[in-house]
Every structure is written in structure tokens, then in C-alpha cells.
Amino acid sequence: MLLITCPHCGTRDQSEFTYGGEAHISRPANSETMTDAQWAEFVFMRNNPKGVWAERWMHASGCRKWFNAVRDTSTDRFLAVYKIGEPRPNVTAAGLATPSGEPVIGSGNDAAKVMR
């Protein structure tokens, strides 16, 4: 289970939180002139990186506030948490040697690790 640091309450078990998916997606201002493809991009299309990404969490069993986090999805390591409305902090992680490779920590795929 992840340990998540709520920027308002502190560090708690993941079971106290609800997940909100990718962060920083804002509703387009010109919705009345958008094409179907543009709508699909806003409603359905998402980044899905193996590495650093910004996501939303809600502290459901605590303060019930939404906040954002930057996490490395290849290791599950949290790199930053910040309040709604604040800009995404400029944090980086070591990154993987190859686009779909496996990091040393956090994966069961030994074959791909050995390869590296």
C-alpha cells in the first residue's frame, strides 16, 4: 500500500484516499466550437507515462480535500505533493534506461531487469 502525504494532514495509508487520475486537465474554454476529435482528446485521451506524472488524490477519510502529487509510476515513489491551484513542481526522477524497461526497485519482471 502506498503511503501518501496529504499536504493538509500529513502522511497516511493509501486506503484513506480516493484516486482522481491525471492532474492539470482543464475544461476547454471554447467548448461550443470544438470538433468531435477535440472532445475525445479532452474527455478520453490521457497521458500514461512510465515515469514521472502528475495526479490527483482526495483525502476521503481525512480532510476530504483534493490535492495533486507528482509520482514516478515505474517505482511508485512520490516526488512531490502540492495543493490544488499551485503549479506543478519541477521535479525529476532518475528515469529508466529504456522506454519500457524495469527499474531495480518496484518490479517483478526479472527478465527485463537482467537484460539491462
Partner: protein
Amino acid sequence: MPTYSFLSLLREGFTGHKGWTPAWRFPDPKPAYDAVIIGGGGHGLATAYYLAKLHGMRNIAVIEKGWIGGGNAGRNTTIIRSNYLEDASAAIYEHALKLWEGLGRELNYNIMMSHRGVMNLAHDEGEARVLKRRTEANRLNGIDTEWLDAKQVKEFCPPINISAGSRFPVLGATLQRRGGVNRHDAVVWGYARAADVMGVDIIQNCEVTGIKVEAGVVTGISTSRGDIRTPKVASVAAGHTSIIANMVGVRLPIQSHPLQAWVSEPVKPLIPCVVMSNAVHAYVSQSDKGELVMGAGIDPHNSYTQRGGLDTIEHSLAALIELFPMFSRLRLLRQWGGIVDTCPDASPIITKTKVKGFYINAGWGTGGWKATPGSGHAFADLVARDEPNAIAAPFSVERFSSGALVAEHGAAAVAH
């Protein structure tokens, strides 16, 4: 290729099992192929097999970054059924189920296919209504789903607790008798062996690191073992699909999540069928070894780490112990996770893309194992002819713009 049979087993038994040969080759990549398949899971190998067998494309390769079947193919709980709600889903999953029925014989490989029946439980009136509706929709599509009341559920699966005072009362269940389970590794190895014999190169420990495109047309791939020229690249990379699609700038609605499963210590035959419950996020079947094979819904967060949280397992186990009180005395042996490629409408994407010669088969999420032969069959057709057939057409990525979604959350959420 030597045929596997009772006689060959007997012969080898008498000669110390020294005559068996490897079931497939370990070739080095050639400089060029007519098509390259990325991903040596069940779907990728099935695609290669049908490309070679039905479309005569034999100068092709399957490129796998680890070992074949080391991804979700080797991590799933192998529940097979075709009782989905929508016509498009019924068509592809039923196509697969029909192929499963003859696959062991076709591949000359014992895939341990067991049509022991799959039950989906209803614990409240609303769920019972939805499941009954699905039963009728299935029957209109010629799929063998039945509705059982609580007493019939108990007859079909005696250990289940149907007492009215139960935390999760059982009001009834759907039953698909042709549904069941099989042996995941055997399916992978059987497809690999049969494809290899037809000339398909299965290249393991080789990671695809880039895709070359010139003027909107695929010309080749880069791998950890060198560059390969090819006019067709077919991505069947399950949880890693977004990374492959990103190499050519194709946008997808897929999100990758951990999905966990676990097994108990082995016990005598206990559960005669597969039992699943959407409402309590749990399911169980029993392997031939005697282990109870159990699973849950996805862990909520995006991740590629092939592991999840204990709270997800606890949640499902608490419900399973209510449904099967005798489970409380069992010990768990092991637990693992795979990375599943979930789609917003819980249906797969089988599609051409804006890049000519680049095809995607993905988005099977938590429930693609059951589709393996049907998915490979339909995808091979698309890759060979550059046009989707009637089964693949509804699953084009265009549906997210047109709005013609194939909404299967009711049939697919936890019920893999």
C-alpha cells in the same frame, strides 16, 4: 515437429525422457520481416499464429522484451466466458470461446481447458435485475447463459453461504456452463510452438525501443538487439501499449493499473466452478493443483510496478470469507500483480492508426485472457488486409470521437 501424444509420452518414458527437443527455436533477429509483432503474450503469439496459418505471412517475428508469457499472460487467473452485454462484445468473446473449444487439439498441446461453468452472483435487487437483463441479451446472441435462483446456486456450488442473514446475501446468479478456466502457460507455449513451426521467429530478451516512420508510413523498428526493417508493426503490449503508441505519437485513452491475484495452499477439490461477484470485488476458482485462485479489482492508481497494495486483497478476502466461511482457515501461499491496460468503456481497442502500417490491439484491461484466440484471429485479419473485419470494426479507436462506445462496465469491472 514431433507430435505430442500418449504414445510419444510412453516412448519417452521408456527411454529416460532424453528425446524431447525444445518446443520453439531461439533465433537472432533478421534484418527485415514482412511484419513485426511487439509483445509475446497470449494475444501477440495468437496474432502471429493466425497470420502464418490463415494469411500465409510466415516471414514475421514476435519481439518480446522479457520471456514469452512473462506479462499478464503468465499472471492472469484464466477465467473464460462470453456472457457480455453488447452485441459487439458477444461477437468477439463468443468467437474466442468457440476457438478455445478446439484449441488444444488444433495446437497439439494440452491447454487443460476445463468448461466447469462460471457463476456471477447477485447480492441485491438492482444487481439481480441487471444480470437477468444480461442473461436475456446473451440468449438473443445465442450465448448459453442461465439464471439460477439461490437454491440452484447452492446446488451448483455447495460450499457457498446463501443464508439470509449473510453479510452478502445471494439472491441468485447467472451461469455460463461453457465458461471455465485453462492453463495460461500451456496456451502461450502451444501458440509459440505452432507459430515457430510455420517459420515465425520468436525473439525473446529483445525490447522495442523505437518505431521508424517515414512520410507517415512505418519502415522499421529499433530494438535492444539492433534495427529491423518492416512495413507492418503490430503492437500487442498490454499494460505497456501507451509507451509503444507514444513512439509514433498516437494518442490513446488507456490507463495502466496494477491488478492483483493470489492463491491459497492446495486443498482437496472444493469449488467445482468459477464464482465471481462484482459487488464485493472478488472471485475464486480452484486449480488442478488444489490451490484456490482468487482475485480482486484493480488498484486505483496508475502504475507499472507489477505490485499493488495489501488493502485491495484484504477487501476481497473479507468478502470471500463471508461467502465461503470455510476459507477462513486457509493460508495464502503467494500474491502477485500484473499491469493491465484499462479503457474508459471497458472494451478493447483493435485498430489501424494514423500511421500507415502501425496497428494496435490493446485495452483488454482486466479481462483479455478469455479473448486470446478471438483477439489474435481478428487482429491478424486486420494486420494482413489493412481493413478490420466485422468482429474488429466496432473496436476501432475512432469510437472515442464518434461516441459509439462499447460500454461493458457491468460485464467487465471485476468479473475478469
